[in-house]
Amino acid sequence: MIYLDNAATSYPKPQSVIKAVADCLQSYCANPGRSGHRLAIEAARRVFEVRETVAEFFNVKDSCNVIFTSNATMAINCAFAAILEDGDNVVVSSMEHNAVMRPLRYLEKEGKITLSFIKSESNGIIKGDITKIIQPSTRIVVINHASNVNGVVQDIAKITANVKEYNPSVAVLIDASQTAGVLPINIQSIGCDFLAFTGHKALYGPQGIGGLIINTTEPLKPFIMGGTGSKSESQYQPEFLPDKYESGTLNLPGIVGLGLGIEYVKPGMEKIHAEEMKHIEKLIECLSGIKGITTYWSNSFEHQTGVISFSHELISCSEIGQRLNDEYSICVRVGLHCAPLAHETIGSYPDGTVRVSVGAFTKDSDIDAFCKAIERIAKV
């Protein structure tokens, strides 16, 4: 089996992650911080350690600003719940995933917010001054760091600086689902207010763990309320972090796995990315040489992650995906990738594309096998 669907979730996971999750479930999987017995204290200690690991990884000043969620989608929903009020305007890039679009379209449909869209090049890259569309009522700008459809990377530091120079009170949310663990992310130098990440993609953790990093001192509304283990005498949500934004039993095995995933990827991030770019280069070369195939990517390795898309003028993406699976045991993802807006932007809506996404465990021979397979399938 050849797995080329790492943009959906990375597979396989490092052995260190697998062992740590199993060890947690077997040895100390109590409720972190909810009791004073040794297992609960050990569980709380592990949560704290991983929170510190995440903070260091993204250069967050104080680890209490790392809020664990179940995934990036939840983190994005939480950021909107924390900041948006009726009458606000929200500015989004044209490459957003439905994790951003669906909560915003819901609020728009309810008449609570208005939406504005940043124009981009046909490959999705944002160029020029984006502040022209910022209105007095704009509360937040949302930027997808890298597309899950064509791997295009946005210059988030430049865009954030552009927004903040124009109006420092406009918040910036970065969706780093496809880049956390791929590209270095320093939240202090970027200057964004929120960063949403997931643990199960390029951070090589298990599914069900992600986070929202809060990098603002602006007053925010709590978005999930309940038991925290603190202030138990009060029926009101605590005001201190992380408890203000984090209620209910945490996903301890997921958190532990995320910590080990970060430890795995951190020392070799640059090398892994360079390898992935070699694979992408080879894929582009192979796909560009096949008659009838259109490729979708940034057209520049400087603005690219290990994700590309393609379509064939005569064979549907679903048929290609099915044949890759059935005849060659190659796993890719086809369709619209939960990102219809991004597909509209790059011109592949509504038919969608075949997406190929590489990871740290992708081998040269996997790419060779894929290229041979697609050459045969494309012979109509």
């Binding site: 911080g33 680890s63 283990g229």
Partner: protein, 83 residues
């Protein structure tokens, strides 16, 4: 046995304080919060009487609200420092 109890708002603060104090070689235990000092269902740090000044100094930069109690007799806790 007499000792001090350090009460902090969240479990996160307790874990942070524990790390700072353990790195400095302070002898401590993390224990369940005694009901006499707080009704939260979390944990506190117990440390020896001789370490009060050191603990206070080591945690001076921890932004969380700190309360220290001295346990004098069984189930008798006297607050000594509040920030």
């Amino acid at each position: 046995m007499n000792y001090y109890i350090l009460l902090l708002p969240s479990v996160h603060d307790v874990m942070k304080a524990e790390k700072i104090l353990l790195n400095a070689g302070v002898n401590l235990n993390v224990i369940a919060t005694p009901r006499e000092i707080s009704h939260n269902c979390g944990v506190v740090i117990r440390f020896e009487l001789s370490n009060l000044n050191e603990v206070f100094s080591l945690l001076s930069e921890l932004p969380a609200e700190k309360k220290i109690f001295r346990k004098t007799n069984e189930n008798m806790y006297q607050e000594v420092i509040k920030e």
